[in-house]
């Protein structure tokens, strides 16, 4: 399972920013092993940088490793049967080797996460207000009325009106969109410098989803919070992110500034995704070009490109040794692709 066939392949680092990145992930590898000794490499050598105040998108389908990447980086995967390799630095501090209590403090204060299903991340037996003030008491030393007023302010700031009354609500009394707003308010309680949003709108209706995305957009613009947006929806990424990383089967296969990625997608998986979704703004007659097979038809990266079994641009070189992640055009363009036969620019 290990050892990439002895061929030394050095990947370029995607999204490398000038100056110091806030979050610096290098060669992150996550391996799950189960009781009967089968191991699954969920994340395989992922490197990326997140600059302060920027929005970075990680796009992929189920099983691409996009969520595992963020959970592993924050030490949220647990220890049993999980092996995490590589390095994750947040503001210069090594998150992977930090003692658990220190890490918890960083997660509460500096880094916050919101998830797809707010219902499962909220405590059903506590009021929304109690859950927010608890964070404020623990991390911000606010007490009593002070904490309550601050909690109400936070709810107001995420667009929940009548916030003093809402503080007394239980999670089940709120709609899905409202719950996600509460989650965002909780995430913002400590004014984190990094917010990781894992499919924040997937469970929501499109008009509610638009409200939540607009809210995140404004937050980034006004507070200089760095945002990592994990999603399967290329459309969401197109309107939100500065840099986009496309993941497939645990690795980044393409990485580029937003405009470059959509204007000149190079990896056959990226172009495949774009061609397989119908677009509202284009004439209806355009045929959809699906990606054949299913996401489970993959090749282990050690034996070549994982996408090769489904790829229409497969060449003999796709199989054998893993393709490296390399720059397309100049380094300044920050456009990288992991493909031996990339799609030519239009």
């Amino acid at each position: 399972m290990s050892g990439d066939a002895g061929v030394a392949v050095v990947d370029e680092v995607p999204g490398l920013v000038d100056g110091t990145p806030l979050l610096k992930v290098r060669d992150l590898t996550v391996t799950f092993s189960s009781r009967n000794r089968t191991t699954v490499r969920a994340v395989d050598g992922v490197s990326l940088d997140v600059a302060p105040g920027s929005t970075v998108g990680i796009v992929g389908e189920s099983g691409s490793g996009k969520s595992v990447t963020s959970l592993a980086a924050l030490g949220l995967l647990g220890r049993r049967g999980v092996e995490v390799g590589g390095s994750v630095e947040f503001d210069g501090a090594d998150l992977l080797h930090m003692p658990e209590d220190e890490l918890r403090a960083v997660r509460g204060r500096e880094i916050a996460m919101i998830f797809q299903d707010p219902m499962s991340s909220l405590n059903p037996v506590l009021t929304v207000g109690r859950q927010i003030t608890e964070i404020l008491e623990r991390h911000r030393d606010l007490k009593g009325n002070e904490a309550r007023d601050r909690a109400a302010e936070l709810l107001q700031s995420v667009g929940i009106g009548d916030s003093l009354r809402r503080l007394r609500s239980y999670p089940h009394q709120l709609s899905g969109g409202m719950r996600q707003r509460v989650m965002i308010a909780m995430a913002l309680a400590c004014s984190p410098r990094l917010l990781i949003a894992d499919e924040p709108t997937t469970a929501l209706d499109v008009t509610i989803s638009a409200q939540i995305l607009e809210l995140l957009r404004l937050l980034v613009a006004e507070t200089q919070t760095a945002l990592v947006l994990i999603t399967h929806d290329l459309g969401v990424v197109a309107g939100m992110c500065d840099t986009v990383h496309v993941m497939y089967s645990g690795r980044i296969v393409e990485s580029a500034p937003r405009r470059a990625l959509f204007a000149e997608p190079q990896h056959p998986y990226t172009t495949g995704l774009l061609a397989s979704v119908p677009r509202m703004d284009q004439p209806r007659g355009n045929p959809l070009l699906p990606i054949p097979g299913s996401p489970s038809d993959t090749l282990p990266w050690s034996q070549g490109c994982a996408f090769a079994p489904r790829c229409t641009r497969r060449v003999p070189e796709s199989v054998g040794c893993p393709p490296p992640l390399l720059h397309v055009g100049s380094r300044a363009g920050r456009h990288l692709v992991r493909c031996v036969n990339p799609v030519p620019s239009p």
Partner: protein, 345 residues
């Protein structure tokens, strides 16, 4: 004559209280007065968000939900008047494709058994092997799939099995309820293309219900937009994106992310405030008035708008008092109420 014609359809679910002596204290008006028609060989898409009643509408059309009022006429026959045996016989002409392909297949049935069940039910003589192979081939599955069980397949393959079951009796109408939303993005197009192919080969009529407007538009000839149990707009798919008339349609369209930064950066967003009101107690007048960015002081709150063809827009129908003024730009949306302020330090 249209293959399917629905008039004034209502499906109300009673809300009951009490354990021993149940009493009805109200009703959820899941579908509340829907008119629609689908011509033979065409596809009507029904879009709307969760809770708008679109799934209930689909099931009520197939007489799988108790209809409170209104009529569903299939090929001229009022389905509610059919006796149970006649209705069961009628079912071979109208079939359904479900959202969750795993949940809609009995986990204890092999694919062969799934596909022969409709044939057996409608009195066709076995053996069914040949027809099963034929059906699998139609949906692009190998004949070896016949002896397998649902959990052995991927999501896309399961949906193919579900589609094969739906076409087993060579029906005329297929109601597809969210046929692709449970599937991975890269698989959705496979199933959409399969549905289109089958429509052409078997001259099927589709009623496609989904929340994803882009997918619905791709597959449908006409689209009906639902909000809180009623249809607010009907338009040919070509026109809907170019000139949405109902404020809800406008908001819905502007909320759909488009995978193109150039388009995204230029777009004007019409954001709705708040959440969907309860279908047990819908707002008075126009049901959308509580969230409408174009709401006017008169008519909206107290006068129920009817579905009508506004002047200058033949082929479209809209249930809005101010459709003409909204379309001409005479009325502008109220500004976005999403966020008051960002929290400070």
């Amino acid at each position: 004559m249209s293959l399917l014609e629905v008039r004034g359809l209502q499906v109300h679910f009673p809300i009951k209280r009490g354990i021993v002596l149940e009493r009805t204290v109200g009703a959820v008006r899941a579908v509340d007065g829907v008119d629609l028609a689908v011509e033979r060989g065409r596809t009507l898409g029904i879009v709307g968000e969760s809770g708008c009643g679109k799934s209930t509408l689909g099931r009520a059309i197939l007489q799988l939900e108790p209809v409170t009022a209104g009529t569903v006429a299939f090929d001229g026959e009022d389905l509610a008047r059919l006796k149970p045996t006649a209705m069961r016989a009628m079912r071979r002409r109208m079939q359904m494709v479900f959202q969750d392909p795993l949940a809609s297949l009995d986990p204890r049935q092999s694919v062969a058994s799934v596909l022969s069940e409709p044939l057996r039910t409608h009195g066709e003589k076995g053996p069914y092997d040949k027809r099963v192979r034929e059906l699998l081939d139609l949906v692009g599955l190998p004949s070896s799939a016949a002896s397998r069980y649902p959990h052995e397949f991927s999501g896309g393959q399961r949906q193919r099995v579900g589609i094969a079951r739906a076409i087993a009796l060579s029906p005329e109408l297929i109601v597809a309820d969210e046929p692709v939303s449970a599937l991975d993005v890269s698989i959705q197009a496979q199933v959409v293309n399969l549905l289109e192919e089958l429509q052409e080969r078997l001259s099927l009529t589709y009623l496609v219900i989904a929340h994803d407007l882009a997918v619905v538009r791709h597959i449908s000839d006409d689209i009906a937009v639902m909000y809180l149990g009623t249809i607010v707009e009907v338009a040919p798919s070509e026109d809907l994106y170019a000139r949405p008339l109902h404020p809800y349609t406008i908001a819905l369209l502007s909320a759909i992310p488009i995978p193109d930064p150039e388009v995204e950066d230029r777009r004007e967003r019409v954001l709705l405030r708040g959440d969907l009101p309860s279908a047990a107690d819908p707002p008075s007048g126009c049901r959308f008035h509580t969230r409408c960015p174009y709401r006017q002081p008169t008519r909206c709150d107290d006068e129920v708008p009817v579905l009508r063809t506004p002047e200058g827009f033949p082929g479209q129908a809209v249930a809005c008092h101010w459709a003409e003024q909204v379309a001409s730009g005479q009325l502008r949306p109220a500004s976005s109420p999403v966020v008051a302020t960002a929290p400070d330090g």
